[in-house]
């Protein structure tokens, strides 16, 4: 890297590194604590720790409400992932291939929804969907989640398309392939890793989203909405157990996505809004 010999002060370098470690400690402290306390026998979490125990996992596993929430979360996440990825793929390809009047507005629709605060989206969705008799169903959560997830899919797939040689598609046409055939044999295979990456990331986003789901889900609560309910009730290490469990699922999806998107282009740099 630059400036190897000039202006290097070991003290500054080391204090920067120490600061970096402290920052990571701050960011990971709550995650680590939730993991540790999910195995702690005491009802009220404090140090020194009690004994190692799986009782909170047992409490969670025997709670039918948790299973119901989990079922809703999984089904909704799967549908949201598929629909968002399809819509996102279409939008990414449209942006890659076409130029048209009003494209900026189109792109705003394709990218902006995650920047609207979830609380406002939740209220707007609740008011609107209940007006058209769509609120209080699992479908309402799907609708709302696709709105905020499709932009993530679009961004991930667009990134992959931008790495494609633009001459590839015209070359296929010149060789006599129709647009549809070119899509099937050139574009889709090339973007396949990003398609699966987008699928897993959007599923992970849907798994964790609670605010909008809280507004529109009615009785079909997802797991995060149940956690919100637990938080409003009394303190319970069950939250830690659920949190750790959901964390493992989400991380599995993200790592799968990461592997698919290949280690070459640190891919997750543009999908973190």
């Amino acid at each position: 890297m630059s400036a190897e010999s000039i202006n290097r002060s070991r003290a500054v370098d080391w204090s920067l590194r120490v600061y970096l470690v402290l920052a990571y400690l701050f960011i990971f402290a709550p995650i680590a604590a939730s993991f540790v306390f999910s195995f702690n026998s005491d009802r009220f979490p404090s140090i020194p720790l009690g004994q190692f125990s799986l009782e909170w996992y047992k409490a969670v596993a025997t709670d039918p409400l948790v299973w119901e929430g989990m079922g809703n979360t999984l089904v909704i996440g799967l549908v949201v992932g598929c629909v968002s990825t399809l819509l996102g793929f279409g939008a990414a390809y449209t942006d890659y291939r076409y130029n048209f009047f009003g494209k900026q507005i189109y792109m705003a629709l394709a990218l902006l929804p995650p920047t609207i605060p979830v609380i406002i989206m939740g209220l707007a969705m609740l008011a609107f969907l209940s007006r058209v008799n769509l609120s209080g169903q699992a479908l309402s959560v799907v609708i709302a989640h696709v709105v905020i997830c499709a932009p993530f899919a679009m961004a991930i797939i667009r990134l992959r398309l931008s790495q494609m040689d633009p001459a590839l598609e015209p070359a296929a046409w010149n060789l006599g392939a129709s647009e549809w055939a070119t899509m099937r044999h050139v574009i889709v295979p090339f973007t396949k890793p990003a398609i699966f990456g987008a699928l897993f990331i959007t599923m992970a986003v849907s798994f964790d989203e609670f605010a909008i789901a809280w507004f529109v889900s009615g009785l079909n609560e997802t797991l995060p909405v149940k956690v919100l309910g637990f938080l409003q009730g009394q303190v319970s290490p069950r939250i830690n157990a659920i949190g750790t469990f959901v964390f493992v699922i989400s991380m599995t999806l993200v790592i799968l996505a990461q592997i698919l998107l290949s280690g070459r282009v640190t891919p997750v740099t543009d999908d973190k809004e």
Binding site: M1, S2, A3, I6, N7, D13, L16, Y19, L20, A23, F26, I27, F28, A29, P30, I31, A33, S34, F37, P45, S46, L87, G90, A91, R97, Y98, Y106, L109, A110, P113, T115, I116, P117, I119, I120, L123, A124, M125, A127, F128, V146, V147, A150, A204, D208, F210, A211, F215, P224, L231, I239, N240, G243, F247, S250, V254, Q258, T266, V268, K272
Partner: protein, 285 residues
């Protein structure tokens, strides 16, 4: 490449357009209409009456919440930017490629852990008999009341926004032309001066956008103010959830929501102008 509208093209472009117009634009537009509806005997009726706007804007409670929310979000943006910069700077310039990739990967993990669980976890740290107070007790300090204070809200805000701010800052720092930094060093520009005269101006757009995202996130968050701040002072997001969940006062909640959107648009506009104006000035130098 421009062609006549074809079935092929529409197949790919239309679905997202239809979905977002139906389920993103329409709800937001409906929110505007809703804010003019009236509520009588706990039922809403379509109307065109500015009464909700007049009522909400006439309430000192609303303006108090507005001021507090704005101040909290603005301080969070400044604080997050300041806390994040040494991190993103260290990751961008002091780590090897391999270590940097790991640093980025680690920084992405928080996005996929439940924010609710992390906030709950902070309660374990900050409560009166919590980890921090126990540790402070070991060296003879405290206990301090930390939970249910604005400080605790800020801890939650940092949990929410710091990873994003670091990543966005990092994204702009890694694209700085390293020759510029080398040149500054060659001209005997000191370390700090290089940071302030080369690194920050070059990365200005990214730094401002990062702060903007922090503002957007914290301005609308209700989890930290409720579960770490104890719901006091009341923020606009708390006001919205209370107004929505208690009775049929959705039109008033709509007024709050629209005021928030208006504020965010204004802040975003100013921030973007500032971000790019800074860049143009930097280019002229």
């Amino acid at each position: 490449m421009r062609r006549a509208i074809s079935i092929y093209g529409l197949t790919f472009s239309l679905p997202l357009l239809v979905w977002q117009v139906l389920f993103f634009v329409a709800p937001l537009v409906f929110l505007v209409a809703l804010s003019f509806w009236t509520v009588k005997n706990f039922t809403m009726r379509p109307d065109f009456d500015p009464v909700n706007w007049v009522t909400m804007y006439g309430k000192p409670v609303f303006w108090q919440a507005y001021g507090i929310t704005f101040a909290l979000a603005a301080s969070a943006s400044v604080l997050a930017s300041l806390l994040a910069f040494p991190c993103s700077y260290a990751i961008a310039f002091k780590l090897s490629d391999r270590a940097r990739r790991w640093a980025v990967f680690l920084m992405v993990i928080p996005f996929f852990t439940s924010y609710l669980v992390r906030v709950y976890s902070w309660q374990i740290f900050l409560s009166d008999a919590g980890i921090v107070n126990v540790l402070l007790g070991q060296i003879g300090l405290g206990p301090y009341a930390m939970l249910n204070t604005p400080g605790a809200t800020m801890v939650g805000y940092m949990t929410l926004s710091l990873p994003l701010v670091i990543l966005l800052q990092l994204f702009s720092l890694v694209f700085i032309d390293r020759n510029l930094i080398e040149a500054a060093h060659n001209m005997r520009c000191g370390r700090l001066r290089t940071v302030f005269e080369v690194v920050i101006p070059s990365a200005r757009t990214g730094l401002v956008i990062a702060a903007l995202f922090c503002f957007i996130l914290t301005f609308g968050d209700f989890v930290s103010p409720v579960y770490l701040g104890g719901g006091d002072p009341t923020t606009l997001s708390i006001l919205i959830t209370d107004t929505t969940k208690s009775g049929q006062q959705w039109p008033r909640a709509a007024v709050i929501a629209l005021t928030m959107i208006g504020t965010l648009l204004a802040v975003a506009f100013v921030a973007v102008r500032f971000a790019y104006a800074g860049q143009a000035k930097g280019a002229r130098k």
